[in-house]
C-alpha cells in the first residue's frame, strides 16, 4: 500500500538502465520505467499476445526492410521513461541499437485489454510529451483502433501533454501511418 503523504523515489532512465546492468531485477520480473516510476507489467493472456502478433506482422509487411518492428522491447523515451511498448516501429536495422535503445519511434502501438485506462491516460500523455507523432491503441475491449496524433501541451494532462487529435477506426476502415503516407493498412488486419 502506498503512503499517501510520502514522495516515492523517481528513477531516471540512466539509473534504471544501471539497475538492469547490475542485475537488480529478477529474471521473471517484467517492468518498465514510466515517468520515474517502476511499473509492473501485468501478465498477458492469449488475446493480448495474439493482438501483438497481428500488429507486428501487419506492420512488418507494411514498413519493409528499412524499419525495425519491435514487440515489447525497450524504448529510451525520455530522461525518466523507458517503456516497452507492445509494438514500436523504429528506423534502421537490428544492429543499429547495439549501443543504446531507440529513442524516437515513428509509431507506437499498445494492445489494450485490461490496460485501456493506462494506455489512454498516463501512457498517451507520456508518449505525447516525448513527441511520438503516431500512437495507436488496438482496443480489444471494443474491438476498434484508436489513433492519436498531434501532441500538444496541456497542463491538465497527467504529464503535461496530450494528443490533440483522436480518431476511432473500425473494421472496414483503413489506417495510414504518419511515416508511410502512401500506405493503407486495413484495420481488420490489426483486430482479432
Amino acid at each position: 500500500m502506498a503512503a499517501s503523504q510520502a514522495r516515492t523515489k523517481r528513477w531516471t532512465r540512466l539509473e534504471y538502465e544501471r539497475l538492469i546492468d547490475l542485475g537488480a531485477f529478477g529474471p521473471e520480473e517484467r517492468l518498465e520505467l514510466l515517468a520515474g516510476q517502476l511499473v509492473v507489467r501485468e501478465p498477458q493472456g492469449r488475446r493480448h499476445s495474439t493482438g501483438i502478433r497481428l500488429v507486428a506482422g501487419t506492420l512488418r509487411a507494411a514498413f519493409g526492410p528499412d524499419w525495425n518492428v519491435e514487440a515489447q522491447l525497450p524504448v529510451a523515451l525520455d530522461e525518466e521513461s523507458e517503456p516497452e511498448p507492445d509494438v514500436a516501429v523504429v528506423p534502421g536495422g537490428p544492429r543499429d541499437y547495439l549501443a543504446s535503445h531507440p529513442t524516437r519511434p515513428a509509431l507506437v502501438v499498445e494492445v489494450a485489454l485490461t490496460s485501456l485506462a493506462l494506455d489512454r491516460g498516463e501512457k498517451a500523455s507520456i508518449y505525447a510529451r516525448a513527441g511520438v507523432a503516431d500512437y495507436w491503441i488496438v482496443n480489444l475491449v471494443d474491438n476498434l483502433l484508436e489513433v492519436y496524433r498531434e501532441s500538444q501541451a496541456d497542463p491538465d494532462a497527467p504529464y503535461g501533454w496530450r494528443y490533440g487529435s483522436t480518431t476511432t477506426l473500425r473494421r472496414g476502415d483503413v489506417v495510414t501511418p504518419v511515416a508511410l503516407p502512401h500506405w493503407s493498412i486495413p484495420v481488420s488486419d490489426l483486430l482479432l
Binding site: 503512503a3 503523504q5 510520502a6 515517468a35 509492473v40 498516463e122 497527467p158
Partner: protein, 194 residues
C-alpha cells in the same frame, strides 16, 4: 502533474532487494531514502528546527538510557520484510558494533520529529511501526509543540498497513515521559522540544 499513477502497480521492493541496491551503489551519494512497505521513499530535506529537535532527543535519550543501549539517529532499521526506514531516533539494545553486520530490527523506542511530515508520521509510519510491534513510538510534533506517545499495537484492517496503536497520549512541555523500556528514568518533555 501527477507524481504517481493511479491505474498501475509499481514495483514492490523487499528489504533484501533494497539492501542489495544499497550495496551495489545504485543510489546517488547524498540521496536520503528509506524503504516503507515496499516503496522507496524520499526523505524530505530538514530545516533547522527539525535538526535541532533530533539533536535534543538524541542527547536526552542517550543520557536517560546510558550504558547498554545505543541511540541511533537517522540510521536504517531492518524493520520487516519490505521496510527499512531510517527513523530520526531509534534506541536499540547493545553497543554500536553489535550492528556491524546487520541493521537492528527491534528498537525499544522510535522517535520521529515531525513538522511537514506530521500526517505521514501519524498515519503511515505509525501503522508501519505498529505492524512491526514497536512497543514505544513517539512523535515530537513541532507544529503543536507537543510530544505524542503511541503504544499498544493492535490489528486494524482500516489502517494503512493493517495495524495501529491502540493507545495515544499527548504530553506538553510541563510533563515528563518515561520510555517503556526504562520506566524508572523519566525525561522532561521540555528537554525534547526545541
Amino acid at each position: 502533474m501527477r507524481m504517481t499513477m493511479s491505474s498501475v502497480r509499481t514495483k514492490h521492493w523487499t528489504r533484501v532487494e533494497y539492501e542489495r541496491l544499497v550495496d551495489l551503489g545504485a543510489f546517488r551519494p547524498g540521496e536520503r531514502l528509506e524503504l516503507v512497505g515496499g516503496a522507496v521513499i524520499v526523505r524530505e530535506p530538514q530545516g533547522s528546527p527539525h535538526a535541532t529537535a533530533v539533536g535534543l532527543a538524541e542527547d536526552a535519550l542517550r543520557e536517560a538510557f546510558g550504558a547498554g543501549w545505543t541511540v541511533r539517529t537517522q540510521s536504517p532499521i531492518a524493520l520487516d520484510e519490505d521496510s527499512e526506514p531510517e527513523p530520526d531516533i531509534a534506541v536499540v539494545p547493545g553497543n554500536r558494533r553489535d550492528y556491524r553486520r546487520d541493521h537492528p530490527s527491534h528498537p525499544v523506542l522510535i522517535v520521529e520529529v515531525a513538522d511537514s511530515t506530521l500526517l505521514l508520521d501519524q498515519r503511515e509510519k505509525a501503522s508501519l511501526y505498529a505492524r512491526a510491534r514497536i512497543a514505544d513510538y513517539w512523535i515530537v510534533n513541532l507544529i503543536d509543540n507537543v510530544l505524542e506517545l503511541y503504544r499498544d499495537p493492535v490489528a486494524d484492517p482500516e489502517a494503512p498497513y493493517a495495524w495501529r496503536y491502540g493507545s495515544t497520549a499527548i504530553l506538553h512541555a510541563d510533563s515528563v515521559v518515561a520510555p517503556l523500556a526504562l520506566s524508572h528514568s523519566p525525561v522532561p518533555v521540555s528537554d525534547l522540544l526545541p
